[in-house]
Amino acid sequence: MFHLAAGRVGSLAAKRATAALSTSSARMMASHGHGTGDTHPPFHQQQLLVSALDKLRQDDRKRFRQVSTAVDMSKPLYTDSVDVPLPDRPYKEVLTDADKSLKQKEKGPWNQLSKEEKLALYRLKFLKTYPEMRHSTPEWKTVLGVAFFFLGLTGFVVWWQKVYVFPKRPRTFEGDWPEKQLKRMLDMRINPVQGISSKWDYEKGQWK
């Protein structure tokens, strides 16, 4: 299991010969002169950790290599945009033999090309035509529908909260309490200049 790590560890040990090694067993290992290429290094916690990490990194790299090919962003990309009529590269770069012969024919007079051939040449170079680029999708219906669905769900949640979560309403809202409260405010002349008491006609005992 440590074959791969052995050489690295050995060279590590050589490089770290002068570095401070924490345990006495490590110091013992260094003094025993384990140079490069020693096949069975002694069990040591630091070495174990380093080699385990190395193995993990190698596994990661192997795993990533099996993932599907990513786009090479260092090369020109093909894009369909109404603002960029001629993209950086043709859509199809890998041509079949039929395509290649068509490309050869393109070098001659274009009057000799049939409509289908002209269309094929267009589709080799471009993925979408302008109308296809401009064509709208019905995606907005999905978006609006999902948004309304979640709004409805929220409404359901609020109703449930009203039934099971919210405490009882304060008693100051029930019966004649609000009316008596208002009378008390008017008697105290609350906000007499521009507020509520200024709207009450004290002589006639009614709102102005």
């Binding site: 109404v82 960029v84 001629l86 002209k118 302008y130 109308p131 401009r134």
Partner: protein, 141 residues
């Protein structure tokens, strides 16, 4: 100014001098309050010269077209003729059709511009054998 530009472009010198008329005109067409304003004829002539370069390469064609559609205008038929002939020199029919599509798109809501342009370009289209998007059926979905 144009003759100098043509001479430089013919020699194929990829230097600032060739692009300089373009840079100057770009500034002028931005409408600064000072400095000489480029006239429409100068603008057209500059672009015709650009596309008329005999050994124009594919990158320059793409760059020219992509720059031209960024302007708030529909290119004159004579500029488009030069661009189509450049496509012919590069053996690129697809780009020629794409240019016609782009012109129609640039016209936007002004539906009468594109038919006029096609009418003006008819001789060139017939000479070079370029089919319009309508003839190929790609103007509809």
């Amino acid at each position: 100014m144009f003759r100098a530009a043509v001479r430089l472009s013919v020699s194929g010198v990829r230097s600032l001098t060739r692009t300089q008329p373009g840079c100057q005109a770009l500034l002028a067409s931005r409408g600064y309050s000072h400095g000489k304003q480029e006239t429409d004829e100068e603008f057209d002539a500059r672009w015709v010269t650009y596309f008329n370069k005999p050994d124009i390469d594919a990158w320059e064609l793409r760059k020219g077209m992509n720059t031209l559609v960024c302007y708030d205008l529909v290119p004159e038929p004579k500029i488009l003729e030069a661009a189509l002939r450049a496509c012919r020199r590069l053996n690129d029919l697809a780009s020629a059709i794409r240019i016609l599509e782009a012109v129609k798109d640039k016209a936007g809501p002004h539906k009468d511009i594109y038919p006029y342009v096609i009418q003006e370009l008819k001789p060139v289209l017939e000479e070079l054998g370029i089919s319009t998007p309508e003839e190929l059926g790609i103007d509809k979905l």
